[in-house]
Structure formats: C-alpha cells, structure tokens
C-alpha cells in the first residue's frame, strides 16, 4: 500500500506545479482524501479534473485505492 507521502508525490509529479494535501479523515489509512490545487484544472469539468488526478495513480488504483476522495481547486 502506498504511503500518504508517496501518493502526494505521485500526484505532484503527474501534475507539475500542483500543490497536494492528503487527509486521512477517518484515520484508517484507507479512506483518504486528496486536495489538489493545480492551474491546469482551469476550464476543465469536475469529471475531467478528477480524471487528471486519477491518471497520476493509474497503477495503484487498480487494486487498493478504491477509497480516494478527491477535491480540486484551480488556485
């Protein structure tokens, strides 16, 4: 299972210049929430924005990360 730090780094690497915060609201290490601030979300629909985040975690999402909540902002 990826650590919170690794998830943050993967998203930031996949979306250059983005700022990412990973929260663990239920403190269970599974139901995580990624808050992503990225200029590239401008003029993109919510679905497209979330797909951009998921694309940075393609491999991991196949198995474990079924519970990654996402919140996106342009700035």
């Amino acid at each position: 299972m990826l650590t919170i730090q690794q998830i943050k780094e993967k998203i930031e690497a996949g979306l250059p210049g983005s700022k990412v915060e990973i929260q663990d609201p239920r403190r269970d290490g599974v139901h995580l929430k990624a808050i992503v601030i990225y200029k590239g979300f401008k003029d993109k629909s919510l679905v497209e924005q979330h797909q951009m985040v998921y694309a940075t975690l393609k491999e991991e999402l196949k198995e474990e990360l079924h519970a990654l909540g996402i919140e996106t902002h342009e700035e």
Binding site: H31, L46, V47, H50, Q51, Y54, K58, L61, K62, H66, A67, L68, G69, I70, E71
Partner: protein, 103 residues
C-alpha cells in the same frame, strides 16, 4: 471490452434518466460511497435505475473503461457520465445536480 458488454452498458444508462452503477442495492448498499450517493439521489424523489456491480465482474471492469473512471459508484444522467460520490455530492451542494435531473 467486447461489444456485447458495451451494448449492455449503453442500454442500461439510456433506459433510465438517472442511473447508478453501485456496490449493493439502493436498499442495501455495501459501501459507504455508494450509500452516500444513493442518499443524495433519493433526496430528489426521482426514479433511478441501478446495477449492482457485484453481480457481474465483467460489467464491473467494463464500466471503469467506459467512463474512464476507476472507482464505483458511477452516476449517469441522460446517458452522460456525471461522476462518482465526490462529484455527485459537490453538484448536489451547488444546486447543479437538481438542474441536471430536471433537464
């Protein structure tokens, strides 16, 4: 994804104005995200169709490819992919979901 499965998915999402691929059933959701999404849909008193992805592993994998979306639940309105639990909730809070449903 083979044509048969693709057609099955297309039929399902076009047969109902509002449709959800979920884990479990509306009355017995088997995942917190599916349950939360059902609660939101039920608050609109709109009739919606559903498919329990545990009943068909092929459909379960195919819908992820169809919508280019890796997780379940998945909500469709008028045959168009709207999003998963997070986006449905965000649209619900902003009032956009109401417009989409009433269109």
């Amino acid at each position: 994804m083979d044509e048969k499965t693709k057609t099955q998915i297309k039929d399902m999402i076009h047969k109902n104005k509002v449709f959800i691929f979920m884990k479990g059933t509306p009355d017995a959701p088997e995942c917190g995200f599916s349950m939360r999404t059902i609660e939101i849909l039920k608050s609109y008193k709109v009739e919606f169709g559903y498919f329990n992805i545990f009943e068909d592993e092929e459909i379960r994998q195919a819908v992820k490819e169809y919508a280019n979306w890796p997780t379940i639940p998945q909500v469709y309105i008028n045959g168009k992919f709207i999003g998963g639990c997070d986006i449905t909730e965000e649209l619900h809070k902003s009032g956009k979901l109401k417009k989409l449903i009433e269109e």
